[in-house]
């Protein structure tokens, strides 16, 4: 170490300490007066600005969720003088205590504005603005408030938003969430919250002793959230909702080209607007207590026994495992007995279907045929192909609260009931009864996979970059077997013995499968799924009516109506 290095170091340290002292002198003595003034009653206010939430549009750009302007009464409690309370209480028709309670409620930092009342009328807002001199600390802020112009039409798809809880607020990024921020609670609003939500801004303002704005010191503009565009066709969705008004039902229609859902309707529905406006708490309660569970999205959040629709799976399993060929015949005389001591199981058609092959068995939905098939299969065989076709597998559709269905097997039963699997249960499983549970959208996906010749399908709601439909993973099912199933599905509708002939439309050939799932003691659940047209299919669909009775009647009629609506909306008549 040299002498000069040491002294240079020593000098540098004391020079920098001197700079520090000079800086403090400048801040505290030279500019001290200015800061002293700012600090008295603290004249700096920080006003957070919420970012406008992105909108939700349908495929044609129609607004499903948007923002309307609302007037909110805010107050900075530190600026409010005691005589303000009675005046404000009178203007807002509120209790003084309530106003005080809201003022002392949780705030993000000192001098942060507290929200006294949201969404007041324009007249009242102007009145308060006019009387501002008498109301120090109180002001009106215009903010966007969520609005769903079509109410119940696509409520389960769009979802709704709600206020943050204190716990959530503590864990979230302050740049995006304020204490009064809203967050998506269901549907697209929830799963796309990050995209719909923008970035908060704010202004630092200097106010005078009477809490009036002197100048804006600095400002950060809020960044609005991005819009989300859905694959849903609003008009189609609306007509379908009208069609299933009054019944507990779900209808979902998918475009096979894009794999986007054109409609996903669940009835009964609710008006998401009631979750936005604080004044509609009674309506909220009514919705939550309603025995029809309008909040429940019957398309994805509830699982039901599939009934005969499941015979498609059993047929595929038997064909793939080589247990039958399409021409394998069994005789149906109306009933079936597994062993000499077993209980008699009946076909829905008590007179019996006679000797039939696989096509006829699917066309007429013969139970006895599938009992015979089930005798040759293990529950694992059926479960394997059910999973292969997406049953009991997670869906990637962009709504929250997806409940997967249930595909039982021996291991599952052992774990759940600590009991072995009985062969009779395989019979039940083969016709979609017993433990099997599916959601309507899972059935839609199954049909779409069949219609797409075995390519894996992921129904979705938000427009995505188009993928090559001929590319992508396939299920482990041979195409020739799927062709058999497709042909049988055509017969279901087009044959005069078919269970789905009520769905027949006169403009194109339809393929489908009905299902009537027993749900004692009430009426059976009614199902129909299918794809359309038979050649070069464009649509896949599922119709489900809770306790709707026979699939071939209730659901088939709805399918016909739905296809007619689709034609009306999409096929321009040739003049």
């Amino acid at each position: 170490m040299t002498f000069s290095r040491f002294h240079f170091f020593q000098g540098a340290i004391f020079v920098m300490l001197g700079i520090l002292g000079l800086g403090l002198f400048g801040t505290q003595v030279v500019r001290g007066h200015y800061y002293r003034e700012l600090s008295q009653r603290n004249h700096i206010r920080l006003i957070p600005l919420e970012a406008p939430r992105g909108r939700v549009l349908d495929q044609k750009g129609r607004l499903l969720a948007t923002n309307r302007a609302s007037y909110n009464v805010i107050a900075i409690p530190e600026d409010v003088t005691p005589e303000v309370y009675p005046r404000l209480a009178k203007l807002l028709n509120m209790d003084q205590k309530e106003i005080r309670r809201r003022m002392s409620g949780g705030r993000e930092y000192p001098f942060a504005p507290a929200v006294i009342r949201k969404d007041i009328s324009q007249e009242l807002a102007f009145l308060i603005e006019e009387r501002q001199p008498e109301l120090p600390g109180v002001s009106i802020r215009t903010e966007g408030v969520r609005s769903y112009p079509y109410g119940e039409t696509a409520a389960h798809v769009i979802g709704y938003i709600g206020a943050l809880t204190e716990k959530e607020y503590d864990q979230l990024d302050r740049d995006r969430f304020g204490m009064n921020s809203m967050i998506g609670r269901a549907g697209i609003e929830k799963s796309f919250d990050d995209q719909l939500r923008g970035w908060r801004g704010g202004e630092q303002i200097e106010v005078n002793a009477r809490a009036e704005l002197v100048r804006v010191l600095s400002e950060r503009k809020p960044e609005p959230g991005r819009d989300v565009r859905l694959t849903v066709d609003l008009e189609f969705q609306k007509r379908i909702m009208e069609m299933i008004q009054g019944v507990h039902a779900s209808v979902a229609v998918m475009d096979l080209q894009t794999q986007g859902l054109l409609a996903m309707a669940s009835s009964p529905s609710y008006d998401p607007n009631i979750f936005v406006s604080p004044s509609s708490s009674e309506q909220r309660l009514a919705v939550l207590k309603n025995e029809g569970f309008p909040m429940l999205d019957r398309s994805v959040s509830a699982a039901y026994p599939p009934g005969s629709v499941f015979k498609l799976v059993t047929a595929i399993a038997a064909l793939e495992r080589g247990k039958i060929t399409p021409q394998t015949r069994f005789v149906c005389n109306g009933s079936f007995r597994l062993g000499p001591k077993s209980k008699m199981a009946h076909c829905w058609y008590r007179e019996g279907h006679g000797s039939i092959n696989l096509y006829e068995a699917l066309e007429r939905s013969c139970n006895v045929y599938f009992f015979n098939v089930a005798k040759r299969l293990s529950p694992e065989d059926i479960a394997y192909y059910a999973h292969e076709l997406g049953l009991g597998e997670p869906l990637k559709v962009e709504v929250a609260r997806i409940a997967p269905g249930l595909i039982p097997d021996e291991a599952w039963k052992q774990q759940r009931f600590h009991q072995p699997w009985y062969q009779g249960e395989t019979l039940n499983m083969a016709i979609g009864q017993g433990y099997v549970l599916v959601t309507p959208l899972e059935i839609l996906r199954l049909t779409a996979i069949i219609a797409n010749n075995g390519r894996v399908v992921q129904p979705h709601l938000v427009i995505q970059d188009p993928e090559d439909p001929l590319d992508g993973p396939r299920v482990a099912i041979r195409e020739e077997n799927l062709d058999v199933i497709k042909k049988a599905m055509l017969q279901v509708v087009e044959s005069n013995y078919g269970t789905g002939q009520l769905a027949r439309v006169d403009f194109e050939k339809l393929a489908g499968k009905t299902g009537t799932a027993q749900a004692p003691p009430q009426k059976s659940h009614s199902w129909m799924t299918g794809f359309f047209p038979y050649k070069n299919p464009k649509l896949a669909f599922v119709v489900f009516v809770e306790h709707g009775g026979s699939g071939g009647v209730t659901s088939a009629r709805l399918v016909k109506k739905m296809l007619e609506i689709w034609k009306e909306l999409n096929v321009t008549p040739v003049v």
């Binding site: 170490m1 040299t2 290095r5 040491f6 170091f9 020593q10 340290i13 004391f14 920098m16 300490l17 700079i19 520090l20 002292g21 800086g23 403090l24 002198f25 400048g26 801040t27 505290q28 003595v29 500019r31 001290g32 007066h33 200015y34 800061y35 002293r36 700012l38 600090s39 008295q40 603290n42 700096i44 920080l46 957070p48 930092y109 000192p110 302050r174 740049d175 908060r200 801004g201 704010g202 202004e203 630092q204 010191l217 600095s218 400002e219 950060r220």
Partner: protein, 360 residues
């Protein structure tokens, strides 16, 4: 016996330490007496422990510390790596290691551990023989803890390594050309490092350059801290009478922003008093440096000085906008056990240099 124990005590240095600790205690109380937590009582305990360390270390002497420095270095590296995987999240960064009721901040130890290892290494090599290799090894020793602390992420502490390294290398006798090349290329690497910074760190640096960028977050803190210090004026608002800090405009005001409370309540004169006490402390260290002939001892004193000085500079500078908002304590004044004891330990090493001074 007592005379022998205190023979090696450099009184001006100990006096500055005591005075700063007392000022700290006063203002920890002022900053937090309205909150639960009894920070001043806890701090009193830490001061007692710290003073014991301050007196105890010279009694052992600095040489034993240097001889186990590599071991100490390795232990701190392991602790740091441990924090990265097991540390508890505190204010969004993993800096603390929970050991039952005690939580320690290994980055505090890492500063001292690294310094001792580098001092020992540089002191054992002559600057005129194979300088390139020596410097490269020293820089490697510095870089490992540096990267680990950056990863935590504790950018403030990590940046302290830079002045510390410069000072130690400079006093050791590195060629100036070398110093310029290494730290010049470091400066060029800044845009690259930018990519690795966490969002909030980028924001802090940007807001440092222009506080108006973020009026909601750091910009607000920066402005309120400035108002707090500035509003103290020449005389201050009086002890316990600060409004800015008492109303919680300034966050963490008993730890990192303690100087805001001092500046507001005791004004410029109080600030000057604190600065002068630090000046006295640094001066004492310089005197001790001058009176030793051991290269390692000189490097050790230089490193300690650089470290303390950077803390003071950044901590006080950030309250009035000279420096970015970094989560660094004001040594000896801020609330906190790890920081106080480590500072006392570092100063204890300096005192032991004084105790073994050459008399001439």
């Amino acid at each position: 016996m007592l005379r022998r124990l205190f023979r090696g005590i450099h009184l001006p240095l100990v006096f500055s330490v005591l005075a700063l600790a007392m000022i700290g205690l006063l203002f920890i109380y002022s900053a937090s007496y309205r909150d639960a937590g009894q920070y001043e009582v806890k701090q009193l305990f830490w001061i007692a422990v710290g003073l014991a360390v301050l007196v105890g270390v010279p009694w052992i002497g600095y040489r034993p510390f240097l001889s186990i420095s590599y071991l100490f270095y390795i232990v701190t590296i392991i602790l740091l790596a441990f924090v990265d995987f097991l540390g508890s999240k505190h204010l969004g960064a993993q800096r603390w290691l929970d050991l039952g009721p005690l939580s320690i901040q290994p980055s505090e130890f890492a500063k001292l551990g690294t310094m001792l290892a580098v001092v020992n290494f540089l002191g054992s090599h002559h600057p005129w023989e194979g300088q390139t290799r020596t410097v490269a090894t020293a820089l490697f020793l510095l870089a490992v803890p540096f990267m680990l602390i950056v990863k935590q992420p504790d950018l403030g502490t990590a940046l302290l390594f830079i002045p510390m390294s410069i000072v130690m290398l400079y006093l050791w006798g590195v060629r100036k050309r070398f110093l310029f090349t290494v730290f010049g290329s470091l400066a060029l690497a800044v845009p690259l490092a930018w990519e690795f910074l966490k969002g909030y760190q980028k924001k802090r640096l940007l807001v440092f350059l222009n506080p108006n960028l973020d009026p909601l977050g750091s910009g607000y803190t920066a402005l309120q801290a400035k108002i707090a210090v500035g509003s103290g004026g020449l005389w201050g608002k009086g002890y316990l009478a600060g409004t800015q800090t008492q109303l919680h405009f300034v966050p963490e005001h008993h730890t990192d922003f303690i100087f805001c409370v001092i500046g507001e309540e005791w004004g410029f004169l109080g600030s000057l008093l604190v600065l002068c006490l630090y000046g006295a402390l640094f001066h004492a260290i310089f005197l001790i440096m001058q009176h030793t002939t051991d290269v390692k001892a000189k490097l050790l004193c230089g490193g300690v000085l650089a470290l303390l000085f950077s803390h003071v500079m950044i901590n006080i500078g950030m309250t009035f906008g000279l420096m970015p908002i970094a989560g660094l304590p004001l040594p000896l004044v801020s609330y906190g056990g790890s920081s106080f004891i480590m500072t006392c330990m570092a100063l204890g090493l300096v005192l032991s240099v004084y105790r073994e001074r050459s008399i001439f």
